[in-house]
Symmetry: C2
Subunit: 277 residues, 2 copies
């Protein structure tokens, strides 16, 4: 099997945008990135992030905040971008993803505020105290599809190669740890290597920490902010997500993404609602 590359993979096809001029882009939200009837928020953010990378003078997302307003549906969508400020090393823009509902009315799905720069232009200094998550070797981790009835596997799960630390998947057999942690190896199923745009999807691709806290209901994202800190090296990524505070029906979920060179390439935090199931 030939591995997909950046540009030829399913991820690139499904996040493609067609410029209409004036900072407006047409897109088609793919049903291949759904879980249940929801289109994955990270996939949507990557698609909007691609539009902003085209519209702004700098190529790479440095910090991207998305507010999820209404549930996106597979099918046609429009991304409208607007430049807020253009600087020498950073530029700032907003984007709005809209769809047309059954009555023909335009409905806004996501509003984004972001700052872009050029990751290749950053100096190579590293003074980090952060350490990569400790995850058992890939072959000792559990695939997201392992043991599942093939007809019950969500479409998005076929797009990614997720291998979870067995210590963080007790919830799958009714024994959540209560710590609010999930750790996994992560890649795209067709072998495409990571890049800054795919990191926007990666931070929202694991099962929610809420499962490890013993909740079984839906955990819709209200707001998600991603910082891309470095262009990822080729090879598998390690992702850890943690929740420290579940209170008042809301929880934060922090993600860290590490590349094969042990560099922290992305950090994210989202505020989500815990709808008790």
């Amino acid at each position: 099997m030939t591995e997909a590359t950046i540009g030829t993979s399913a991820f690139d096809r499904d996040t493609a945008i067609t410029p209409r001029g004036g900072g407006v882009y047409d897109a088609d939200l793919s049903a291949d990135w759904t879980i249940g009837h929801a289109v994955n928020g990270g996939y949507l953010l990557a698609l909007v992030g691609r539009a902003l990378g085209d519209a702004l003078p700098h190529p790479d997302p440095f910090t991207v905040t998305a507010h999820y307003l209404t549930a996106s549906r597979p099918g046609p969508a429009t991304v409208r971008t607007s430049t807020v400020r253009t600087g020498r090393t950073l530029s700032t823009g907003t984007a709005s993803l809209v769809q047309t509902d059954e009555e023909g009315r335009e409905v806004e799905r996501i509003r984004v505020l972001a700052c872009y720069g050029d990751l290749a232009a950053l100096p190579d200094d590293v003074r980090t105290s952060a350490e990569p998550p400790r995850i058992p070797p890939y072959e000792h981790c559990l695939g997201a599809r392992d043991g599942m009835d093939p007809s019950a596997i969500p479409p998005m799960t076929h797009q990614i190669d997720l291998r979870m630390d067995p210590a963080t998947v007790g919830w799958a057999v009714g024994r959540p740890s209560g710590r609010g942690e999930v750790r996994a190896w992560f890649g795209l199923a067709d072998g495409r290597e990571p890049d800054p745009i795919s990191l926007l999807m990666t931070v929202d691709a694991l099962p929610p920490t809420a499962f490890d806290l013993g909740l079984s209901g839906w955990v819709p994202t209200v707001e998600l902010t991603v910082h891309v800190r470095r262009r990822p090296a080729p090879g598998p990524l390690r992702v850890s997500i943690t929740t420290r505070n579940l209170a008042g029906g809301f929880l934060e979920e922090d993600a860290e993404v590490w590349d094969s060179e042990d560099r922290l390439v992305a950090q994210s935090r989202q505020l989500a609602r815990a709808l008790l199931g």
Copy 2:
């Protein structure tokens, strides 16, 4: 000395906004909240947050993201708000803080995207694994003005009562710990109790973690996101700020704010540039 209350304090006077109609507000940025020649980013966020709280149907900031575009100056300013979506329990809006430059041109200072709700309407469930920062008793901590030449104290330092954990202020005498941590007791100098709006300032009121990492230069904020998780109880707050990753000339700074009832009331993360001094 009579203590100030919510509504009568210097903080309330200096973050006051005057509605002009149509979601537009006039304000006056006070020189009392400057450090060096910069107006504090948390103070500015509180002022913009007040305008959004007036413009949106829900009163309290739940998640607020600010992009700092250009340096604000003390003096007149205008906040323009716009409602993105109004829901039953949450509403989303944007705001823009602008000033007029010496040539009479309008310059945007800050762009904000935020979601508001009603903290009083949240259930009281708490399932947190987070623990308050360990800080010595208030009387064993070091005041931000202690030992300073009174003429060298930045104006903002007179507005707040900051008592820092001695273990995290070695940088002040040339011995940074290198851990990237600062912990402190926090209050307003005039005794005003904390509320959700003042928390937007509190998350950006400590000396930067960069000092504890051994950097001495300026650390301008690119983007700051705050989650307000609970209405704070009266009494002193504890604030911890930490940095895990300084790389490529950027660093993240995470803040947690805890109230006198040991509840985590706010979390924030900012992306800042480390301009080496």
